[in-house]
């Protein structure tokens, strides 16, 4: 009997070391070269499972139409699409060995981790095999879809961020081109009641307001998130300080309490009571998709509004015209049952010009390839064209892929809330702490 505990312990140790997630060996992409990649009929028949994040009827239909384009080309392949999927579900499925053949994500935040851990298969060999030139994609889109040389996703559609302005509230003014013009205009366009409460805001500078995240605002001053060695650049890049000081001055002009009261009384970002729809704010930072939402809203669709690039730091006029971009990404998870067919679908959805143009026209998102951007069939009204230009601008930037992307953004945002509240006495020390948090976590993640 004395040997029993020992045996049990031994067994335990054995199971412990053996039992980490996902150690099965599914067929991998590019393991064996495809013989006839040009002939669609040569691809063996299969039923592909595709998970995506689109959820509204209009979006889902547009995406399924794009898939129908693929199945028309490859009639032997059937695609079953699952809508409204979150990243956590994708990760969980891959760990459980139940991965779909193709998965699309609405955020670029997890790309680094997925590439690094091999949760999504490296597409580099098949891209080389099929002779796809990735230079058809802008640099920013290339950078948010890969990590440390592993390209495990492709950009599906992109988003670009710019300025929307309500012409009726602009009092005949042109959209601002610099931060000081933005401040000046905000002061001019803001309307308050007798008690000093805000009724119409020129521009809401709060970092907690809808799309005003540091990643979206950073490009206005050309701020950098990471140094070349991967450590945090937030404390050392003077651009962030410039942005923060500009922002705080404007918050203080409103009065933090007044601004917060106004902000908390505003309608939902995704609902019909959006403050821009209701004429409660003259200028907002938003993505190109807002155009489609305005057009789809029965009350807001008649609004007279314009779009422009974001205003930029006064001392960096060459940034004007650029902005922030990110987008949906799509790839082949580890454990996909039909990786070869899955790759054909990914390739079709991300590089086929006709498909991208159709999808872009239906969803009013920015298509990623140059050919699709220049396609005559692409709907380009002025308001939408602004975002196409922002997307194509050489200085347009994205949030570089990082394994701790969510953590790092949260570390910074948490500090920014303290900052706008006025709870930060020493800005340099505060930013240095943000750096320390990000760098400590980086060390822990071993990257």
């Amino acid at each position: 009997m004395r040997s029993l505990p020992l045996a049990a312990a031994g067994l335990l140790a054995l199971t412990l070391t053996a039992c980490t997630a996902g150690n099965s060996a599914p067929p991998a992409l590019g393991a064996k070269p495809t013989t006839t990649s040009t002939d669609p009929a040569a691809l063996p028949a299969a039923t592909l499972e595709l998970w995506h994040g689109f959820s509204t009827d209009v979006e889902t239909k547009a995406f399924e139409d794009a898939i129908a384009g693929f199945t028309a080309k490859y009639p032997q392949i059937k695609v079953v699409a699952q809508k409204g999927i979150q990243d956590a579900q994708i990760t969980q499925a891959i760990r459980g060995g139940q991965a779909p053949d193709v998965a699309a994500s609405f955020t670029t935040d997890n790309v680094a981790q997925w590439c690094k851990s091999g949760a999504f298969q490296d597409l580099t060999p098949v891209i080389a095999q099929d002779g796809i030139d990735l230079n058809v994609l802008p640099a920013a889109s290339r950078s948010y879809t890969e990590f440390e040389g592993k390209r495990c996703t492709m950009p599906l559609l992109a988003d670009a961020y710019g300025l929307y302005y309500n012409k009726a509230l602009m009092k005949g003014e042109q959209p601002p081109k610099t931060l000081s013009e933005l401040t000046e205009l905000t002061k001019k366009l803001t309307v308050r009641d007798a008690e000093g409460n805000i009724e119409v805001a020129g521009f809401i500078p709060s970092f907690q307001y809808y799309e005003n995240s540091p990643s979206h605002l950073g490009p206005m001053v050309g701020a950098k998130w990471y140094n070349d060695d991967g450590t945090s650049a937030i404390g050392s890049d003077p651009a962030w300080k410039q942005l923060l000081q500009w922002q705080k001055e404007l918050v203080d002009w409103y009065g933090y309490d007044k601004l917060e009261k106004f902000r908390k009384g505003l309608g939902d970002e995704w609902g019909a009571e959006h403050p821009f729809f209701e004429g409660k704010v003259a200028m907002v930072l938003d993505g190109e998709w807002r155009n489609a939402m305005i057009a789809a809203d029965p009350e807001a669709k008649d609004m007279d509004y314009g779009t422009a690039p974001l205003p930029v730091a006064d001392d960096k006029p060459d940034l004007y015209g650029s902005g922030f971009t990110a987008g949906t990404v799509i790839g082949v998870p580890k454990g996909a049952k039909h990786p070869q067919q899955a790759w054909e679908l990914v390739k079709y959805l991300t590089t086929d010009t006709e498909s991208l143009v159709t999808l872009s026209n239906a969803l009013r998102n920015v298509p990623t390839t140059k050919a699709a951007m220049d396609h005559p069939g692409l709907a380009k009204d002025d308001r939408f064209a602004t975002f196409l230009d922002i997307f194509a601008h050489p200085k347009t930037s994205t949030l570089p892929a990082n394994v701790n992307s969510v953590f790092n953004q949260d570390a910074f945002s948490t500090f920014l809330i303290e900052w706008e509240k006025g709870a930060v006495k020493d800005l340099d020390a505060g930013l240095a702490e943000v750096d320390a948090r990000i760098d400590d976590k980086r060390k822990l993640s071993g990257s």
Partner: protein
């Protein structure tokens, strides 16, 4: 001699096997893996030994301290508040001459409402701008607080929610109170003991095992408090669950970040399962300590009475 005891030992083991297997599979094995993973960098896919890195990081993590304090707040304030409230309500219910059945049902009903639905409803009722509670307060000239939206009020608001849902405890206390022999009260009344004296010297000692049970389970529950805080944060912050968003728990200002939420977020959203395992072990240790202290305290109280 040796042969017979050995045979008996084996037989005992066979009889105990279901229990041993249960404990081994559902307790010892997970605990051992948690310890094992806590020394590794584990991003849910790849495993790499890193020694004490996770532990070192955990000790300097400010959010860990923050979340631990929040959890401690719940243990220190929410659990006693819930017990006192439940005891008070139960006490009142025993005094009722008529209508007790209906009131008992009314007090018990909230514990049948699913946790998520109850929390969402509370956040809606307590919405600072549109919620009926603040509108009623405004009628009598009081400016209500921004309940779930302000760091100072968020945890008290959750405590209100806990009180509302304390029907289970109320019922347990009610049963215990009705179980106290009537003749003890009569004897005490003849000796001239007032209501308070009767409560202290008769009711409390008799129901103390039930109190202890409720306190221990209440504390364990508070240490694991997750769902209501997560839902309240999400709903109050206005975060949408649309694809492409990652919600970091804790709104407002980290006031509702409890230790289990921090653990979950670290492991499953921040890809640091090794670190999350460290937190899990700390949480386990804290639950053990609280439970042992409470058990010992009540053991003493019982021995004294």
């Amino acid at each position: 001699m040796a042969a017979s005891t050995r045979g008996e030992g084996v037989r005992a083991l066979v009889w105990l096997a279901p229990w041993i297997i249960g404990i081994a599979v559902f307790f010892v094995y997970p605990l051992a893996s948690t310890v094992y993973f806590s020394f590794h960098r584990y991003d849910l896919f790849t495993l790499e030994f890193v020694g004490l890195d996770n532990w070192r990081y955990a000790l300097s993590d400010t959010r860990l301290g923050r979340s631990a304090l929040n959890t401690l707040w719940l243990v220190v304030f929410m659990v006693p508040a819930q017990l006192l409230f439940a005891l008070g309500v139960a006490q009142l219910l025993t005094k009722l001459k008529s209508g007790g059945g209906i009131l008992r049902t009314i007090f018990y009903l909230p514990s049948l409402v699913p946790m998520v639905a109850g929390t969402v409803a509370f956040v809606y009722l307590l919405n600072p701008a549109t919620g009926p509670v603040n509108q009623l307060l405004a009628l009598v000239g009081i400016t209500g607080p921004d309940w779930f939206g302000s760091a100072a009020w968020a945890k008290p608001s959750l405590t209100l929610l806990a009180l509302w849902g304390a029907g289970n405890t109320v019922m347990i206390f009610l049963a215990a109170l009705l179980d106290v022999p009537k003749h003890l009260y009569e004897a005490a009344a003849i000796d001239g003991a007032g209501a308070w004296r009767q409560f202290r010297s008769i009711t409390l000692p008799v129901i103390s095992p039930v109190l202890m049970f409720s306190a221990v389970t209440g504390v364990i529950y508070a240490v694991q408090y997750f769902t209501q805080a997560m839902i309240a944060s999400r709903v109050a912050s206005g975060a949408t669950d649309s694809a492409g968003t990652t919600f970091t728990p804790g709104y407002p200002d980290g006031a509702l970040l409890t230790l289990p939420q921090h653990l979950f977020h670290t492991g499953f959203r921040d890809w640091s399962m090794g670190l999350a395992c460290v937190y899990a072990l700390m949480l386990f240790a804290v639950s053990m300590v609280f439970t042992l202290v409470l058990l010992r305290q009540f053991g003493r109280a019982e021995a004294a009475s």
